[in-house]
C-alpha cells in the first residue's frame, strides 16, 4: 500500500489514545463523587483538584489527536 493509505491507517490508530483518557477521567470522577459524598463541605477544593486533574489527563489524548492531524495533513 502506498504511503498515504498507511498514514491514514496510522492516524486512525493514533486516536486510540483517547481510550486511556476516558478510562482515567471516569475513574477520577468516581473517586471525586465518593469524596464529595463523604465530606460535602470540602466540595469546593475537591472540585478544583478534579478539574485540574482531568485537564492534565486529557492532554495525552490530545497528543494522539495532534499526531493524527499531522499524519492526515502531511
Amino acid at each position: 500500500m502506498d504511503v498515504q493509505s498507511a498514514a491514514l491507517i496510522g492516524a486512525g490508530v493514533a486516536v486510540l489514545t483517547g481510550l486511556g483518557a476516558g478510562f482515567g477521567i471516569g475513574l477520577a470522577t468516581g473517586k471525586t463523587s465518593e469524596a464529595i459524598a463523604r465530606q460535602p463541605e470540602a466540595s469546593g477544593k475537591i472540585t478544583g483538584s478534579f478539574l485540574l486533574g482531568i485537564a492534565l489527563a486529557e492532554a495525552t489524548a490530545i497528543y494522539g489527536l495532534v499526531v493524527a492531524l499531522l499524519l492526515i495533513f502531511k
Binding site: L51, L52, A55, A59, I62, Y63, V66, L69, F73
Partner: protein, 239 residues
C-alpha cells in the same frame, strides 16, 4: 462547501502580508494580527479600568482589585516569598489566554442560510502562538532559576533527589514546554474543529449549547491549567 473543505479552510492559517525588511521576507499570518488586536484590547481595558483610582473603590476598580489580589495570593501561595515578582507575568499569561480562548464566542450568529458577518477564530489554534508562550515560560524558569539560586545552586538542584536523576532533570527542560504548547494547541484546535463540524451539520439549535462546553469551558480550563502549570514550574525553579 463540503464538510472536509470547511474543515481544511478553518484549519489553515493564511498569510496576511509580508514585511520586506533587512533583506528578509517575514510573512505575517492572520494569527499574529489577532494577537495584536487582543493586546490592543487588553491594554485599552487596563487604561480604562485604572483611570480614576480613588481610595474608596467603585465597582470597576473593585473588580480589577479583586482579580489582582487573587493572582497575587495564588502566586505567593505556590511560589513562596518570591511570588510577588512573578505575579504580573503569570497574571498577564492568564488574562491573555482567557481573552484569546474566549474570543470566538463573540462571532455574530449565522445560519438560516446566511454566513455570519465576520468569524473570529481562536488565536491559539496556531501552534506558533502557543509555542511562543511556552518558550517564554521555560526561558523564565531557566533564567530565574539561575538568578535566584546562583549558578552553583542551580547545578546542585539538577542532581537534587539523586545523581541518577540528572538526565531526567535535563530532559524536563525540553519536555515541559513541549507538553504545555501541545496541550493548549491540541485542545483549542480540536474544540474549533468540532464546532465547525457542528455548525456545518446542525446549525439550528446545537451550536450555542455545544459551544458552551467546547468554547467556554474548554477555553477557561486550558487557560487555568496553563497558568497553573507555569506557576508550578517557576515555583520549582525558584524554590
Amino acid at each position: 462547501m463540503t464538510i472536509s473543505e470547511k474543515i481544511t479552510e478553518g484549519m489553515s492559517i493564511k498569510t496576511a502580508f509580508t514585511i520586506h525588511a533587512f533583506g528578509l521576507n517575514i510573512p505575517i499570518s492572520d494569527t499574529v494580527i489577532g494577537t495584536w488586536i487582543i493586546m490592543a484590547v487588553l491594554i485599552l481595558a487596563a487604561f480604562i479600568f485604572t483611570r480614576k483610582m480613588c481610595e474608596i473603590p467603585k465597582k470597576p476598580q473593585l473588580l480589577v482589585e479583586a482579580l489582582v489580589g487573587y493572582i497575587n495570593d495564588f502566586a505567593t501561595e505556590k511560589i513562596g516569598h518570591h511570588g510577588k515578582d512573578f505575579a504580573a507575568f503569570l497574571g498577564t499569561i492568564f488574562i491573555f489566554l482567557i481573552a484569546a480562548n474566549l474570543a470566538p464566542m463573540l462571532t455574530p450568529i449565522g445560519g438560516f442560510g446566511f454566513e455570519p458577518l465576520f468569524v473570529i477564530k481562536p488565536v491559539t489554534r496556531d501552534i506558533n502562538v502557543t509555542a511562543a508562550l511556552a518558550i517564554t515560560v521555560i526561558l523564565t524558569v531557566l533564567i530565574c532559576g539561575l538568578i535566584y539560586k546562583g549558578p552553583i545552586g542551580w547545578t546542585k538542584s539538577l542532581v537534587k533527589p539523586s545523581p541518577i536523576m540528572l538526565p531526567f532533570n535535563l530532559l524536563e527542560y525540553a519536555i515541559k514546554p513541549l507538553s504545555l504548547c501541545l496541550r493548549l494547541f491540541g485542545n483549542i484546535l480540536g474544540a474549533f474543529i468540532i464546532m465547525q463540524l457542528i455548525e456545518a451539520v446542525a446549525p439550528v439549535f446545537f451550536p450555542p449549547v455545544a459551544g458552551l462546553y467546547f468554547d467556554l469551558f474548554d477555553g477557561l480550563i486550558q487557560a487555568v491549567v496553563f497558568a497553573f502549570l507555569s506557576t508550578i514550574y517557576i515555583g520549582e525553579a525558584v524554590e
